[in-house]
Assembly symmetry: C2
């Protein structure tokens, strides 16, 4: 089994903690280890042959530094010179692994997701591996617990089997609230987690079938030596990548492929899409606030606030539903319901040419 | 004319910017110079003979450092070993000045007040000087523009004279809103500003009459040399001060004295009693927020916020009526209407023994 971790996100929604060179997956969102480090540690007990981390050139240095402490499993970092969404990143990783072991099972995981029950996560991956070995493209579908409008959904055909895996009927874009409520009631819709499991040869065949241009680009890679020496590849990737079309694996392959199965997953999951998501995944303290990376908290008549404290003492007086983030060069205060609009601050800074804050 | 500046405040209401060793008057509340420095510069054009700054031992060093740049007028710093409210501080200053010039006019000013129109302020002091030379205790009464419940009031007898000075009928403690409204409508009530003008011999006589114990304590001071060499006095002040009763000059003298006059003042004044008061005295930017000591501001749908930015970029997203203060070791977010409760944070920190934040 090979693990492919997609670590190329830019994470503007966690500004000012996330920056271009320091996106969400490299952040210590929860204090302590970064989301990338947690993602890697979470799969080590699965005893994979290798871990491939696909990231972009801007973040490669920090990514490598964060993974220096991983022992026992080789870790390769693959740099994309430009971001081209998930399909090229996955295709590239599959081509590399396929050079060595085309029968191998490949697990694709985003670097910036939160998972509560790691044992259950690994058990789900192990189940998915069995299905993948039968030639299916397997996706993990999160059992929804609310009519979330921020995620895509997967409709499963549950007529046939008890606990899944189920055949996928279709992928659905982010719904409005009415449709999300219908999906929740129907019981056979799952959140699209972006976690995939398949054999290398199967995904490569599907890419050839549904994304022939990507397949052709990847075919140009010249694997001169049959060793895991990816430095050779860097200039070749830099040569082919700019001309590759940006596409998600969902749209490019999954929605078009025939043999797609979904395995229901309920290990406690969040894509941690904004500061607002943190109280979902971090237990609030006795004051009812979540305070991360702070020297302490004093709360006077305040609740439901989240602070990322920059190592300082954090004090709240008579406030609620706020997100407060303190970094070396910026301090941001945001209403909790407006956490999605943090990206507007980033846009405004771009407009002003304030690249030092980006 | 001698200026006595009372600079002994502890300023817990401006935490976390104000600390025990760095109270409000030493802070650069508006960015740039501190309130004490502004208070001193404001009186220099009055060409006083000397300026005496009464402060406490904890703050003496920083006070002296801030006043090093004052030229042309001698500045003395008088250290109180413990705070005893305003009457002992004023009595001590009067005793010292009286040793040199008992006929002199002495102007008492708090170090931490904001004054908008400085020319008008000086013109008012000049008028008050004339009244003081006629033997009156003169207090400046701020013409109220709202039914403020946070200040004490002075009732003036306006039957006799046009523009004042008016005889004082009585001093009134902080009223409730109903009474404050009555005062505002009556038109002969003024805010007690804590600014006083009198001849040294007059205030010393009044202290002798109404505060004989303070008079007796001050009489123990041995002025061995008739020079402005106050170092001699320090051990003597340390010897007498602990036994002196804590008392305000208002309660100890002004409310009991007969010959008290009030001069209406409308030069734009605030005692800057809390973070909340700053938007009154600093013009908000085009976003409707007041941002001090920041590298910049980005505001998304936010208004009526005050930020003290610690030199950083400040970003607001979907918030209003907040006070945000960022310092090296603490970040505080407070609802604007709860600014008085910042002192509760200080109390809590005291309870926890967190003296490093006090």
């Amino acid at each position: 089994m090979y693990i492919v971790i997609l670590a190329g996100g830019s994470g503007t929604r966690f500004w000012p903690l996330s920056r271009k060179k320091h996106p969400k997956q490299l952040m210590s969102v929860f204090g302590g280890k970064s989301m990338l480090q947690r993602t890697v540690e979470r799969v080590l007990p699965l005893d994979p042959k290798r871990i491939l981390v696909v990231t972009n050139a801007l973040q490669a240095r920090e990514t490598a530094a964060q993974l220096e402490g991983v022992h026992g499993v080789p870790v390769d970092i693959i740099e994309e010179p430009v971001g081209r969404n998930t399909a090229p990143a996955i295709g590239l990783a599959a081509a590399i692994i396929g050079r060595h072991d085309t029968e191998a099972v490949m697990v694709v995981l985003p670097a910036d997701h939160y998972i509560l029950d790691e044992d259950k996560f690994r058990a789900t991956i192990a189940r998915a591996r069995g299905t993948a070995l039968n030639g299916y493209l397997v996706t993990l579908g999160i059992t929804p617990d609310r009519p979330e409008t921020g995620y895509g959904y997967i409709e499963a055909d549950r007529k046939l089997r008890g606990e899944g895996p189920y055949p996928v009927v279709r992928f659905v874009e982010k719904p409005n609230l009415d449709r999300a409520l219908q999906f929740l009631e129907a019981g056979n819709f799952y959140w699209n987690s972006g976690m995939f499991i398949w054999q290398v040869k199967v995904i490569l065949e599907e890419i050839e079938r549904h994304m022939p241009d990507l397949h052709a680009a990847l075919a140009k890679l010249d694997f001169s030596r049959d060793v895991w020496e990816l430095a050779d590849l860097k200039p070749q990737i830099e040569a082919i990548y700019p001309d590759i079309r940006s596409e998600s694996i969902d749209y490019g392959v999954m929605e078009k492929a025939q043999e797609v199965e979904v395995i229901p997953a309920d290990f406690g999951w969040s894509d941690v899409g904004s500061w607002r998501a943190l109280p979902e995944v971090i237990e609030p303290g006795e004051t009812g606030n979540v305070v991360i990376n702070a020297a302490g908290e004093v709360s006077v008549d305040s609740r439901n606030c989240l602070a990322y404290g920059g190592g300082k003492l954090v004090a709240f007086v008579g406030v609620e539903d706020l997100v407060v983030v303190d970094t070396d060069d910026a301090v941001m205060v945001c209403h909790a319901e407006r956490a999605q609009d943090v990206k507007k601050v980033v846009e405004e800074l771009e407009r002003r040419g304030k690249s030092e804050y980006l």
